[in-house]
């Protein structure tokens, strides 16, 4: 499943996508992210019959991603994002 967390407003699209078919729930993204965006749940809240751990974007963060991720995304040069780098499975992508 492609789980798109975030929002769209007048200034653009701000979504973090987690591919839950690839995510193994290892939790590396949780420790890598300075803004505590991710958490690992024992069960996919959007696929409750699956019973496998999976990363999600915390409910209290998904409405302010633009602001929360800002320190990782300086306007000048764009270093690799800590979350994307930490996820060896390659399950995380950003829309902006």
């Amino acid at each position: 499943m492609l789980a798109n967390y975030g929002y769209k407003d007048a200034s653009g699209d701000f979504f973090i996508t987690i591919d839950t078919d690839i995510c193994n729930g290892c939790g590396d993204c949780v420790s890598a992210c300075p803004a505590d965006i991710f958490e690992v749940m024992d069960e996919d809240p959007n696929d409750p019959l699956r019973d496998e751990p999976v990363a999600v974007v915390s409910a209290d963060k998904k409405k302010k991603l633009k602001y929360e991720c800002n320190p990782c995304k300086p306007a000048s040069e764009r270093p690799p994002l800590p979350c994307v780098e930490a996820c060896k499975a390659g399950a995380i992508s950003h829309s902006w």
């Binding site: 499943m1 789980a3 798109n4 929002y7 007048a10 699209d13 809240p45 959007n46 409750p48």
Partner: protein
């Protein structure tokens, strides 16, 4: 009651229903799904995965009460004692406020599952326009979510936004659709669907001499634009179904569907119950897996 309905003319019609072909005494598992939305709440009672009864009501100021009332309303249509229920799943915007639920499940999962039931397994894209949020979901033939997006940051483009607007113009919400097409020429969409701005924009358009119908048209088409931009993100794959309160509003839907480029699926069921149906079906699946209520 009738008096109150007259004053709050923008209310949805509340209704309950029981399936005359089902006898609950034959059921192995009776499960219920309670979908507490910001605007309306539905309780769906299913017997072995078939719809037995449901109630659809407006959400009051108190969510736990709304959940209980919706269930009571559905139960009223039946002669089944409430303790016959094997499992209850809460979902929706106010799902944490279903105190008597055995567990809660996200509305994303429930809507996909419910749409699969009420529209059939061909449904691949589900657009749900609720009172407070818009969800676009792709699912497989089993109703399992494969891609989803949800916008709940603001009321723009939602049922709530439409209610505020219909209230402002004094046009009962059930007439918004038809009246919005009562224009000689389709006007430009209003520049913002933001509830706060739309209000002042509508007021200024009226002052400029626009007819109520033209303002309605401009607002409906702005909402359609807004909704389409979200659907576009998950992608449009046939068959395409629309659920939620705004699915009944042709002012928005007849402007949205040409952008989508597909026909909407039809169903004999009330589209507002999709979330509740999905929730009750998850309850049924859990019971079948032996993961029901511990007795």
């Amino acid at each position: 009651m009738a008096e109150e309905k007259k004053q709050e003319f923008w209310r949805w019609t509340e209704s309950n229903w029981k399936n005359p072909d089902i006898d609950w005494k034959d059921a192995k598992f009776v499960t219920s799904g309670i979908d507490v939305g910001s605007v309306s709440s539905q309780a769906v009672i299913m017997t072995d995965g078939e719809i037995f009864a449901y109630g659809n009501m407006r959400t009051g100021s108190d969510s736990p009460d709304s959940a209980r009332n919706a269930l009571k309303f559905a139960m009223e249509a039946t002669d089944m004692p409430e303790d016959r229920m094997d499992y209850c799943v809460g979902t929706g915007y106010g799902r944490v406020n279903v105190p008597f639920a055995d567990r809660t499940i996200t509305e994303i999962a429930c809507h996909a599952r419910g749409a699969n039931f009420i529209y059939g397994p061909e449904v691949r894209t589900v657009l749900d326009i609720g009172g407070q949020d818009i969800k676009a979901i792709q699912c497989d033939e089993k109703g399992k979510v494969t891609n989803f997006i949800m916008n709940d940051k603001c009321a723009a483009g939602t049922g709530r936004g439409m209610e505020v607007f219909s209230d402002l113009l004094g046009v009962p919400i059930n007439y918004v659709g038809d009246r919005s097409f009562d224009v000689k020429e389709e006007p430009q969409p209003v520049s913002s669907t933001c509830v706060v701005y739309a209000k002042s924009e509508a007021t200024s358009l009226l002052r400029k001499g626009w007819s109520t119908e033209e303002v309605l048209a401009a607002y409906c088409s702005a909402m359609a634009d807004r909704i389409y931009s979200l659907v576009e993100r998950v992608g449009v794959e046939p068959e395409f179904a629309v659920t939620g309160g705004l699915a009944k509003n042709r002012g928005v839907m007849d402007r949205l569907m040409p952008m989508v480029g597909l026909k909407r699926m039809k169903t004999k069921w009330d589209t507002q119950i999709a979330g509740g149906v999905g929730a009750a079906l998850f309850g049924y699946a859990l019971c079948q897996k032996g993961k029901g209520r511990k007795k």
